[in-house]
């Protein structure tokens, strides 16, 4: 069980005022959704949380330790990230791609064992891409590649899952499957923190919401408090109609 907290964190977006400092506590068992228009800094925030980018100010704590005091390898055992875009310069199969998730757990002299292989195969199976395991990733469809990327994170099996638009390119069925999988991970006391564009997915599956505004303003809290039509209308600059279905709010452009 690991917890990621930010203390007065301001992400570094060149040419933008600092705005509201973020004091987030991403706890085990929570599923966070980050909402905001294009270019607002959702990806920058994720990269900053993962320690891949220095913040403008403030600090990040993994449990009680400042993130930059922890070795990269140890961080990557605790926290993993699914990127929005990926480089496939060299051809590799889906299984090989998932298997690189084991890297943080192996010493330089170790080869991947049968157990590592089994972990990777289980992850591919959970993401419904096991039948593609010997296919080259660059020959797969966008949605299949997205699922292989999530399987890589699952193979890494960190305590904190950061995901940049995990439902990108996914069909309806797999969107739901991925969201269910993420909720399952949270039920196993992991923390999930993802950027989303789909308000209804956020409303259906996230319990914590962070709204990021273009001027650097931000607010966060439990989903039922944050997903208010008027707040979302001003966030996206778009009139919305809402209704309640099956106990969850649903939003459509008005």
């Amino acid at each position: 069980m690991t917890r990621l907290t930010t203390e007065a964190l301001i992400i570094d977006i060149p040419g933008r005022a600092s705005g509201v400092p973020l004091n987030l506590a991403i706890e085990p068992g929570q599923v966070w959704g980050v909402l905001g228009p294009n270019g607002v800094g959702k990806t920058t925030l994720l990269h900053t949380l993962a320690g891949l980018r220095a913040p403008r100010s403030g600090q990040l704590l993994l449990d009680e330790t400042p993130l930059h005091d922890i070795r990269r390898k140890t961080v990557s055992q605790q926290m993993g990230l699914v990127f929005q875009d990926r480089q496939d310069g060299f051809p590799a199969t889906a299984l090989e791609t998932a298997l690189i998730g084991r890297h943080p757990w192996l010493s330089p002299w170790q080869m991947e064992s049968g157990e590592d292989l089994a972990i990777a195969e289980r992850a591919l199976e959970a993401l419904d891409v096991i039948h593609l395991k010997d296919r080259l990733v660059n020959t797969l469809s966008g949605g299949e590649r997205q699922r292989v990327a999530i399987a890589t994170l699952m193979t890494q099996s960190p305590e904190i899952w950061l995901l940049d638009e995990p439902t990108n390119h996914l069909d309806l069925q797999h969107q739901t499957a991925v969201m269910k999988l993420l909720r399952q991970q949270a039920a196993c006391d992991r923390a999930v923190f993802m950027c989303l564009h789909d308000l209804n997915l956020a409303a259906r599956w996230c319990d914590q919401i962070l709204l990021l505004y273009p001027d650097g303003q931000a607010c966060w809290g439990p989903a039922r408090d944050m997903l208010v039509t008027s707040a979302l209308e001003s966030l996206f600059g778009q009139r919305l109609l809402s209704a309640e279905l099956d106990g969850f709010p649903v939003f459509v452009p008005g």
Binding site: K73, S76, A92, P108, E112
Partner: protein
């Protein structure tokens, strides 16, 4: 890839390398049968055969093997560094720097060791120049490194032309041979072979990190790789390998490009397998190319760089044409 007897290809390549070396030391102005060659290697055979093989042909064959292996491994490393399967150890201007160093030494009228030393210094200078410029202000990205290297290489090309145009005609043939890659002046194969073996040993613990780095630097960092130190060491290692190879044999093109590319098509992209395989296959290829260079128009010799380019250019174009 990491599973199920991954080392069989290496054994096959080792055998191929040994056969190529056997052919190379047997063929020449005085042909020696394979049986006699084996007898000489195991310590018997006539005195003439001993001298011919152990003192004249074997050092050259070993130099060819070392040069080819060094260039192929350097190419494979550069390709991971630049995340571009079409990169080449020469693309960053290393051979240009080495050539300018060597030609300046030849122009000054010195020979042998000083030419090699000067070439090595030129290659390392080129390395630092490109890295320093690409580093500049802010971070360097693979594409920026590549562009800087290509432009600097063009600059070296201009200096080479300038030196050639100022050189008295009597000295030109030596320079041209050097520029085309020529093993007949390789002094000793041992430093090159030792560096090759050392790098192949170092690659084993680094291999998986290289595999991860091939997926992009951010992804590698997210998986716990210390990206910047790793990139620095790959760059320095590849530069050292290339500089050593260029110092031994002048600029021999295409080995670093074609060998890793072909091996990746067959063996996949696990660096722990690809890098030692490159050492063996690159070595074997250059031993065979050098044998051809010695016998095609014997007793005259062709520069081995001509042979590798004649093999490399069509092979490469074919691979490029076939790939998506």
């Amino acid at each position: 890839m990491p599973i199920s007897s991954p080392y069989r290809p290496l054994l096959v390549l080792l055998l191929a390398g040994f056969l190529a070396a056997l052919i190379s030391v047997s063929i020449g102005s005085t042909a020696i049968g394979f049986g006699d060659t084996l007898r000489v290697i195991t310590g018997s055979g006539t005195e003439l055969q001993q001298t011919l093989i152990l003192e004249l042909r074997l050092p050259r064959t070993l130099s060819a093997f070392a040069t080819g292996g060094l260039l192929a491994v350097a190419g494979a490393l550069m390709q991971v560094l630049l995340r571009n399967p079409l990169a080449d150890p020469y693309v960053l201007g290393l051979s240009g720097g080495a050539a300018v160093g060597a030609l300046l030494a030849m122009l000054a009228g010195v020979g042998g060791f000083l030419v090699s030393g000067s070439a090595f210094a030129g290659a390392m200078l080129a390395t630092l120049l490109v890295f320093g410029l690409a580093h500049g202000s802010g971070s360097w990205t693979p594409s920026r490194l590549l562009l800087t290297g290509v432009v600097v290489a063009a600059g070296w090309g201009a200096i080479i032309t300038l030196i050639l145009s100022m050189t008295p005609a009597s000295r030109l043939p030596g320079m041209l041979h050097w520029l085309m890659g020529d093993l007949s002046h390789a002094a000793t194969p041992w430093p090159g072979l030792m560096i090759l073996v050392l790098v192949c040993l170092m690659v084993f613990p680094l291999g998986r990190a290289l595999n991860v780095l091939a997926r992009g630097s951010l992804q590698a960092a997210a998986l716990g790789v210390s990206v910047r130190p790793l990139e620095w060491s790959i760059y320095l290692m590849a530069s050292l390998l290339t500089a050593t190879a260029v110092t031994m044999a002048g600029s021999v093109g295409f080995v670093g490009l074609v060998v890793p590319h072909m091996l990746r098509l067959v063996l996949g992209n696990d660096q722990r397998l690809i890098l030692p395989a490159c050492a063996l296959a690159g070595g074997t290829l250059l031993v065979l190319a050098d044998t051809l260079a010695r016998v095609v128009i014997a007793p005259e010799q062709l520069p081995v760089g001509v042979i590798t380019a004649l093999i490399g250019v069509p092979t490469f174009l074919y691979l490029l044409y076939r790939s998506r």
